[in-house]
Amino acid sequence: MSDLLTAEAYAEEADVRRFPVLRAILAERSARTGLILVGVVVLAALLAPVAAALTGHGPDQQFRSEALAENGLPIGPSAHFLLGADGNGRDVLVRTLYGARISLLVGIPATTLALVAGTAVGLVAGFFPGRTDRLLSLGTDVALSFPFVVTALSLVALNRGGDGEPVVDPVLLVVLVISLFAWTYFARLTRGLVVVLRNRPFVEAALSIGVSRRRLIVREILPNVLPVVAVYWAVQLPVNILAEATLSFLGVGVQAPTASWGNMIAEAQRSSLYQVQPWFLLGPGIAMFVTVLGFNAIGSGIRNVLDPQG
């Protein structure tokens, strides 16, 4: 009976400890705004095929006879093309919606991959001072020193097989390139946290009763580090979404005809067609802004709740 009571008390305490944070985050103004914005973007990504089906316009389909005027210039917004068309007569709205998919499909896996790799490196570096730490920290420094875009360009060249065809899928390559740079931030963060934790009495206590180091790292230290790292994931995600757009803008990321906000904006700029048809630029531009703003707002909302000083 008493066991049951304490168990219940524990459960209740856990509830109180866990849910107020979540509730506080949901109550925080900027986090809530961010969640709404991101919700809209996710919905847009999910509903992209529906929009394509409703309008009958595939994302890469060209409607030169309907969407281009006689002089070859794209038409503006109309009942059939809500945001007008681009230079190839493709539906800007449908492409913008499909762009949301690419943005999330690159940003989320890249950030997660970076989190996993960086946290692993940081755990080991922080836990084993001396040579292991020095070597891993040097590795982190080296990765940080590479200039992002130029290295990405070299990696794209590296990806070209003997016949000129890419070896791995270009979208996958963008994910890999971004995580190749982003893991360093997670590694530094985790290492710093672990160095502090390592000197706490519970580590010594666990080691003295014969807990294996692996178990100690995975079962004791990792759970202590994970919340902070998870918050940082939310902070890093919009940065990586922008990185994908930048690479695609420069022509090294997601390749045409696949719609990405970056390569859509690049096309609008290169052809200067946005001067006649602003939605060609504004569609992907606003979508990009809303997405990044939404994630930034969530990130700062979480930080406001967890760490009111910062």
Binding site: L138, D141, V142, L144, S145, F146, P147, V149, V150, T151, L153, S154, L155, A157, L158, R160, P238, L242, A245, T246, F249, L250, G262, I265, A266, A268, Q269, Y274, Q275, L281, G285, M288, F289, V292, L293, N296, A297, S300, Q309, G310
Partner: protein, 329 residues
């Protein structure tokens, strides 16, 4: 202190060496046959083999690396290795010029771009950050923080396009030609034209950076303003302006210097997007063109340059923050 600096310097050198070896290996695999790039279109296999031999591309990679470091490709007879005096970074296949010379010719553009942007974004961030920290949660704070969020959430390329659309294209349709669309004029030639040509690129970079820095300044100011010595300063009658800009700002400056140094280093490695949009012929553009065109000595050179600038500024930031911090001195 001295030992710490020596240790950091050794680490910086090791980092650079690792970057060099990795870039060298990577470009050697990525750009398979530079001989084909160099040779005329209808070259025979014999010519290709000759070029391959002349560039020592048939040797194992470690000999190539050694050769690169020590002598460089001696196309014109003069040694051009990194470990030579004067140190050089090899010879561009495409442009038929020494890489060091190419980079040096582009550096003024990138340096003007980065430093000018730094001055603008730091001034505005500090002003906005202090103004926001003065009355947290007031309408001033709300507006400034909304603006900095917006700056943070717009990709540089979009800012650049919008600025050039509104401030160049739209204005010029009304006959107002304040800003040119692209190009660069050296500061020694005509300082006014220099600033006029760089105004929009500076603004483009500054918008994104203010998004980051305004919040950092604000957060650090709030942190410092809560401390005892600020209360003491106020109690003894120091004016509010001096409290904010003198006492508090100077204490809040460390993280701003750290972050500023790193951002500046990243920009010096090539503000590639900004250079591209405004047609500035800087280091970033050089690097991108080389990477696209398979001119790997230039790729290696610009990568090393960017890494060196990054490593040196991390080092400098470390030294400066230590010098400013009495506890660590």
């Amino acid at each position: 202190m001295r030992r710490h600096i020596a240790g950091h310097a050794a680490r910086a050198l090791a980092t650079l060496l690792a970057v060099l070896v990795i870039t060298f290996a990577m470009t050697r695999v990525a750009y398979r046959n530079p001989a084909a790039v160099l040779a005329p279109r209808n070259a025979t296999q014999e010519t290709l083999d000759g070029i391959t031999r002349a560039l020592r591309l048939d040797e194992p990679w470690y000999l190539q690396l050694w050769h690169y470091l020590y002598r460089g490709p001696d196309i014109q007879g003069a040694p051009m290795g990194l470990f030579n005096w004067p140190p050089a970074l090899g010879y561009s296949f495409r442009q038929q010029r020494p890489v060091t010379e190419l980079i040096l010719s582009k550096i003024p553009v990138t340096l003007s771009l980065a430093l000018g942007a730094l001055v603008i974004w730091m001034t505005l961030s500090i002003l906005f950050g202090v103004a926001a920290a003065r009355r947290p949660d007031s309408w001033v704070d709300r507006i400034l923080s909304a603006l900095s969020y917006a700056g943070l959430s717009v990709p540089t390329f979009l800012t650049g396009i919008l600025l050039s659309y509104f401030l160049y294209f739209t204005l010029s349709t009304y006959g107002i030609r304040w800003f040119p669309s692209s190009g660069y004029v050296g500061i020694t030639e005509n300082p006014f034209e220099w600033a006029r040509h760089l105004a929009l690129p500076w603004l483009t970079i500054a918008v994104a950076e203010i998004g980051i820095f305004q919040r950092v300044v604000r957060a650090n100011m709030l942190d410092v303003l809560g401390s005892d010595y600020i209360r003491t300063a106020r109690a003894k009658g120091v004016t509010e302006r001096r409290v904010h800009f003198g006492h508090a700002l100077s204490a809040a400056l460390n993280p701003i210097i750290t972050l500023g140094g790193l951002e500046l280093a990243a920009l010096m490695g090539g503000a590639i997007v900004t250079e591209q949009i405004f047609g500035l012929d800087g280091v970033g553009r050089l690097a991108v063109e080389a990477a696209v065109g398979g001119d790997f000595p230039v790729v290696i050179g610009t990568t090393i340059l960017a890494a060196a600038i990054f490593v040196v500024s991390t080092f400098a930031v470390d030294v400066v923050t230590r010098l400013r911090d009495p506890a660590a001195r």
